[in-house]
Symmetry: C2
Subunit: 335 residues, 2 copies
Amino acid sequence: MATIYEVSKLAGVSLATVSRVMNNNAKVSDKTRSKVLDAMTQLGYRPNSIAQSLASNVTNSVGVLVSELHGGFFGLVMNGIESELRLANKHIIITTGHSDEGQEKSAIDFLIGRKCDALILLVDSVSDEELIKISKAIPTVLINRKVDTLAERCISLDNEYGGYLATKHLLEQGHTDIAYVAGPDWKVDSHDRFVGHQKALQEHNITFNEALYYQGDFNENSGYESFNKLKSRGINFSAIAFGNDEMASGAMKAARENGLILPKDLSIIGFDNNMFASYLYPELTTIDNSAYQMGKMATDIILKDVYKQKNLNISKIINVFEPKLVCRNSVTPNA
Amino acid sequence: MATIYEVSKLAGVSLATVSRVMNNNAKVSDKTRSKVLDAMTQLGYRPNSIAQSLASNVTNSVGVLVSELHGGFFGLVMNGIESELRLANKHIIITTGHSDEGQEKSAIDFLIGRKCDALILLVDSVSDEELIKISKAIPTVLINRKVDTLAERCISLDNEYGGYLATKHLLEQGHTDIAYVAGPDWKVDSHDRFVGHQKALQEHNITFNEALYYQGDFNENSGYESFNKLKSRGINFSAIAFGNDEMASGAMKAARENGLILPKDLSIIGFDNNMFASYLYPELTTIDNSAYQMGKMATDIILKDVYKQKNLNISKIINVFEPKLVCRNSVTPNA
DNA sequence: TTGTAAGCGTTATCAA
DNA sequence: TTGATAACGCTTACAA
């Protein structure tokens, strides 16, 4: 692989001049420039980005930490990040944390060790203090997380409003006996969605009934179980709101196995608007989580703050995205 | 950030010695070692991996190119890659090609420019010749692709056998009027699956009927359309085999809109065993594509060949994975 | 077992 | 507008 040195020799100029035409940040005469360019193509020269990074202290890479690599949410977020970063000729180094504090921390260490210029983090387990410390060492954007002192660097969905929207929709369709199946309560998003549910209930003067609550783990199985558990308690409900689409899907299965006709006998609303939501039968009414948009926004913040990029077509930074109701066929008016 | 130089000063040893304890590849007395280690922790020293890479000519990073970041298949493949690479303390630089030749090529250039130690490629559009050229420049493993001269570096699914399995299953359930909805024929995997379908038919002495064939684009919509198109031709069929699960899902929707009861009136089999396959109603019978395993295997090849890693718990390299039938509820015996 | 010093391929500061 | 040359932070012969 040719180096800058060989290019300079072939072109009959100095190293510095070659570097200048590469970065065109300084005046170089047209004549010299074309000599250099010729030499480059002749040698098939490609700059060694490692050497560039060492010398310039910029790696043009941003570290991304997600919980999992599969799954609709992360896929979309990463999509938003990648598409935006690619345009800017930066790249992604990706790691996973599996919602485990140890793994999340070591992944972050790893990313810092790789000298990423910035970090985009989707973490569940690392503490706020830790995150504050990290963002002092390296520009960091947090997705799905709210840390007060880092507010401008946090991108999140208004989960509470989303939970509110979902239940409100059910209420507006005449349902009053509404069960709620939450995700793990220690996850903020899960918690907030549930709070939103309660608010909507309150607004309609319905007292929250503990017996209509079930806590799952965001996986399909727990949704399946939730239906059976709820049913076994012998209390009536005409609709269930779920903390996410996976659990909703599991419950649909259980409901059908119990002979219910959907949505006639039971209305169901999910959360996330996962890719498969429209594949379900009946097609799942749910709340869109703006995953792609959040990934894109996180990236734009970095492009702007870290890479000083101008003319990004962002009118303004949105830190809290507003969830939207996506009406499909799994909710029907209460008879 | 502390450098190796500061550590050496504080510990009262030379640069070389510090480097030695970091890489522990040479004898260092216990006493010196602990002096160095102390200095390191005292300074909160973290090696600069960029400098390490430049000096050692190893970046410990492997470049990965996939078509999309979302979608079940890629998610699982990436999962297999990441989990394996992480154990080895290597990392992933990820790019996307969107099945477009230009984008795929530039992504590869990008990866090479980043001095990745190896490449894992999932490409549709780049030519075999190009791939051969690339793998001469940098160790490369191809997933979902077969290039003769690169056979040991290709990981793929036996798509033809998968297509065969799917249709055979239908035949064994007594179906004889079987429609086939393929993906784009220019995609090898899609093509091969279709060939497998034909083989199974042949084996049962059924002549392939052009009127029972429809070519979609692997997306849900085209599956939806496929059902209506097939129906409009006025030919009977009691089962449909699909090139992937998404299209199967779309067709299920269309079938139901046409008043069919599934699977009683129509048996359906998919391909891929996408995450959502079990969420569908009826749960989709399909062919598992071993995505995770393929990602893992690709990584193991690199760990072994490039990073000379011993004791990988791989009994042997598998280049062609065997698809497996996953029986669920969308196929029923033909009355 | 430890130290010295020459790279690795760039960028960036001075002079010229 | 160009050219020397010193960093950048590490690895790795070669000596001691």
